[in-house]
Symmetry: D2
Subunit: 285 residues, 4 copies
């Protein structure tokens, strides 16, 4: 799977002949399907599909595929987007003081696990500057308080524009983004929340879990929407705890979860495996 | 471990010498410790202990152990209770229409997994009568509505008294018990809630989970308190779902969780492995 | 999904245009695809596909679909089979003395979870007769020893023919079937082995696991081949144990695994979600 | 738990009065028990215990505790050792080319999760030198082949002596150590094997797992003995895979397991929570 590939993400009302029409489009233009997955939400009659094909012998140049596909897509009143495997998404990471999610991302990034360009890291604290600069990645600090939040966000947004950032990862960024920021990157801001959502929304979820006496803790990666911790869930995982685990132990176990869950969510995102509908996600993997 | 055993459950402020004092009491009276577990909640300075010993050569007759232990227990201002392995708890099961938890309990009961006497089954519906009577267990129906609830509960309570019931299992009983009932059996009513509490409190948790788009569902067994689904959690477990799972699939997967989680919680309860403090549990296993 | 549906399971060398050709066949004959999944084994260049479609408006009668599809299938040198949702597989269950897997199957069968007809139960011991006959299902005993094994198997095979059995479930059947039996039901005999295969092949896997000191035990459901415990794996699951678990505890935990794993494997089989290639399986779910 | 603590690990034939005698020793000398756990292997009648106590008011100086305890220990024919929380074990890490386990150890080490001194890293390849030296840790390369193995090991052993190393971690070290090495560090060499042992002993376990078509893969951390991959298991964990996972995907998933499993095993070791008996471990946590 080394050559250039196209990925079509498509959704529409469920109707007969969609898969046929799409595979016909690909086949008749010389494309070889590498992966195809589809899903129908029977409750709502909605159709979802992801198809990935080899462009080696495909007769339509990449820049024209969307236009060429339009008649097919419109026939089914669909919404779609077309991605290319050679395109590496420009990504910004937001952090605060905790380094475990940042380190995980940096390590996997260097290993080549993430098809992205890590353009810059933004923080509200200077603490993690050395780790980031040590990897040759620009690091910016925008301290925030109630008064300057909107202003600082505007500067951050300007920076993201400058670096042509397409996806934002909140790697334990302990600030709530306002609507002006969130709405600029719909389904393009990935957060890791350190609880099994929807349990323990908001701050100090491990403390909440500890006080409630749960026997299992979790971590949740989701797209950020204006409503706190309510965005579409991408991935979750859990680990068992017991009365023996102090709050500190829980945090330690939780850190390991957070790293893995965020990494998985980011992979699905970068490989264009996620279709959002309403507040839910279809993950084609 | 076939002979008669005593089990001491003990809690007090944490102080030096508790374990020594308790093991001295057992050893000097000829008891052989089979299992000992302890825990200190460092945040609150509370000590918990469970110790199980062989009574074969124990010089204090069972009925006098509590009195004999009192000076030790009082020295540490402790609260404790002493249980005996030969005592089989009298249990009532409450059900509605769904049979999976009931069947699981009946099957394991017959296998000898639960050291209890299943005295009777109470339901608000007649549906499961055949299953219960087929096992030679009395079955009673108390249909409930807003008007007759308190009155029906009083009849149920009278029946529980008559059968000398000590523990009540709500095996998917779809009625909320009132305070008059709950407060008669403090930490003696075990419920299975079909969600990963505290997520999805209340009715239709699978529907809630489906609508929220979570990637993992759970089941929670807890002691019932007056506040709905807020009692001390005994056991939880989870299973992964995906967008492919319809609401019906989720219910099916959930049923398997519920059965296992309730069975585990009941085992811990019947083996006297649970110490409740506040709204949390220490499970010694 | 209540109407009649057809399911095509297809495999061939991977080539361009397969999905297109198959979906064209379905669409042009008036079928509505309900579910489509495909997989390419890149290492071997093998293509696999499962597609399920609604027959309501399909213009080819069920009995002619295979013939009508042949030109498509042959174009790709494929192997395929076509199944129908209305067909309920005839199933025989083999048991010995342990009842937990049998009870699980019976319970789910009554719930309607398994699209099958449970025609008969065969055992080498009379112990479980009452449970089976209580459900109105014929029960036969064929005790086996080294001398009479082949002869008894022949009687069993005759009985399976008589009852038109298509699938055999070994629900903790503690006898090894010989080649004469196994080869009559290729990929149609489902076993549950009480270990995480390939660890602990053969007898007493829980004892083996206990002696080896593993920290996790498992259960494996697989198709039976002539080589003991080497058939294609359908489903596995695991549970954590510790030094506290006695051999008896391990067996108890294992029973819960076995029931769930066997039930899942049987569901995949009955819903025609399994494609076997070599000693591996593709499970489309 | 900030002050100095003593940890006693004790094992003997199971007899009455052991816990009493040990807690008496601690209490009468002014020690406050912080954690006590015990286990009896009923099958073999063997007793195991770990007790941790505060030394603040303990009247026996640390260097005399072992001698002072001897009469108690000998009364029960026990084997024991006494550890101190202030003692940080000297550790060497052995690596080859893969960096994920090494990075995990370095990161947690810096976070303060491991009470140890990472004295040096030894490799048979120079690849990971920069990572190690970047952290200010000495790095040595001893390339090995069939001819020079024993000689190189002798140099490694000399180096370990020089650095007063007490525990060796094989963090994906792809060389088999000979008996001369292994026997110098009994229960003090921790390996991470990238399979769910005892499945897939030896080389290329992910390839073996892939070829066998298992549905779950695992990782195992164990003490190294002379027999390859047969040492006492400390910790295991697993993750689900499917036919969709290529060998490369399996390796990726496996890496995440290995890191976590090795980190847990190392923590148990450094906190003196492991008692080995035969080829099994008791993990007191």
């Amino acid at each position: 799977m080394d050559g250039e590939r196209a990925i079509l993400l498509f959704t529409s009302r469920d109707r007969e002949g969609i898969i046929y029409a799409i595979t016909e489009f690909i086949y008749k233009n010389g494309g070889n399907i590498l992966e195809l997955d589809q899903h129908v939400d029977r409750e709502n009659g909605q159709f979802f599909m992801r198809v990935e094909w080899d462009l080696k012998n495909f007769r339509i140049p990449p820049e024209d595929i969307d236009t060429a596909f339009s008649p097919v897509g419109r026939r089914f009143d669909g919404r779609w987007r077309i991605e290319f495997s050679s395109h590496r998404e420009n990504v910004a990471v937001f952090v605060s003081k905790e380094d475990h999610c940042l380190r995980e991302i940096l390590w996997r990034y260097k290993l080549g696990e993430f098809p992205m360009n890590l353009k810059l890291v933004i923080s509200n604290h200077p603490d993690l500057e050395d780790i980031v600069r040590g990897e040759g990645i620009p690091f910016f600090v925008f301290p925030k308080n109630r008064e300057n939040k909107l202003e600082q966000e505007r500067k951050e947004l300007a920076l993201l524009r400058e670096y042509e950032v397409e996806t934002v990862i909140l790697a334990r960024y302990m600030q709530i983004l306002t609507g002006q920021f969130v709405n600029r990157y719909p389904n393009r801001i990935i957060n890791i929340h350190h609880s099994f959502l929807p349990a323990f929304v908001g701050s100090n979820p491990y403390r909440q879990a500890y006080d409630r006496g749960v026997k299992i803790i979790g971590a949740t990666s989701h797209y950020v929407t204006e409503e706190l911790d309510q965005g579409p869930i991408i991935e979750q995982d859990v680990i068992r705890i017991s009365h023996r685990d102090s709050l500190e132990d829980i945090k330690k176990k939780g850190r390991d979860l957070e790293r893995i869950v965020l990494a998985r969510a980011l992979t699905y995102h970068l490989e264009h495996r996620i279709l959002v509908y309403g507040r839910k996600t279809v993950i084609f993997r």
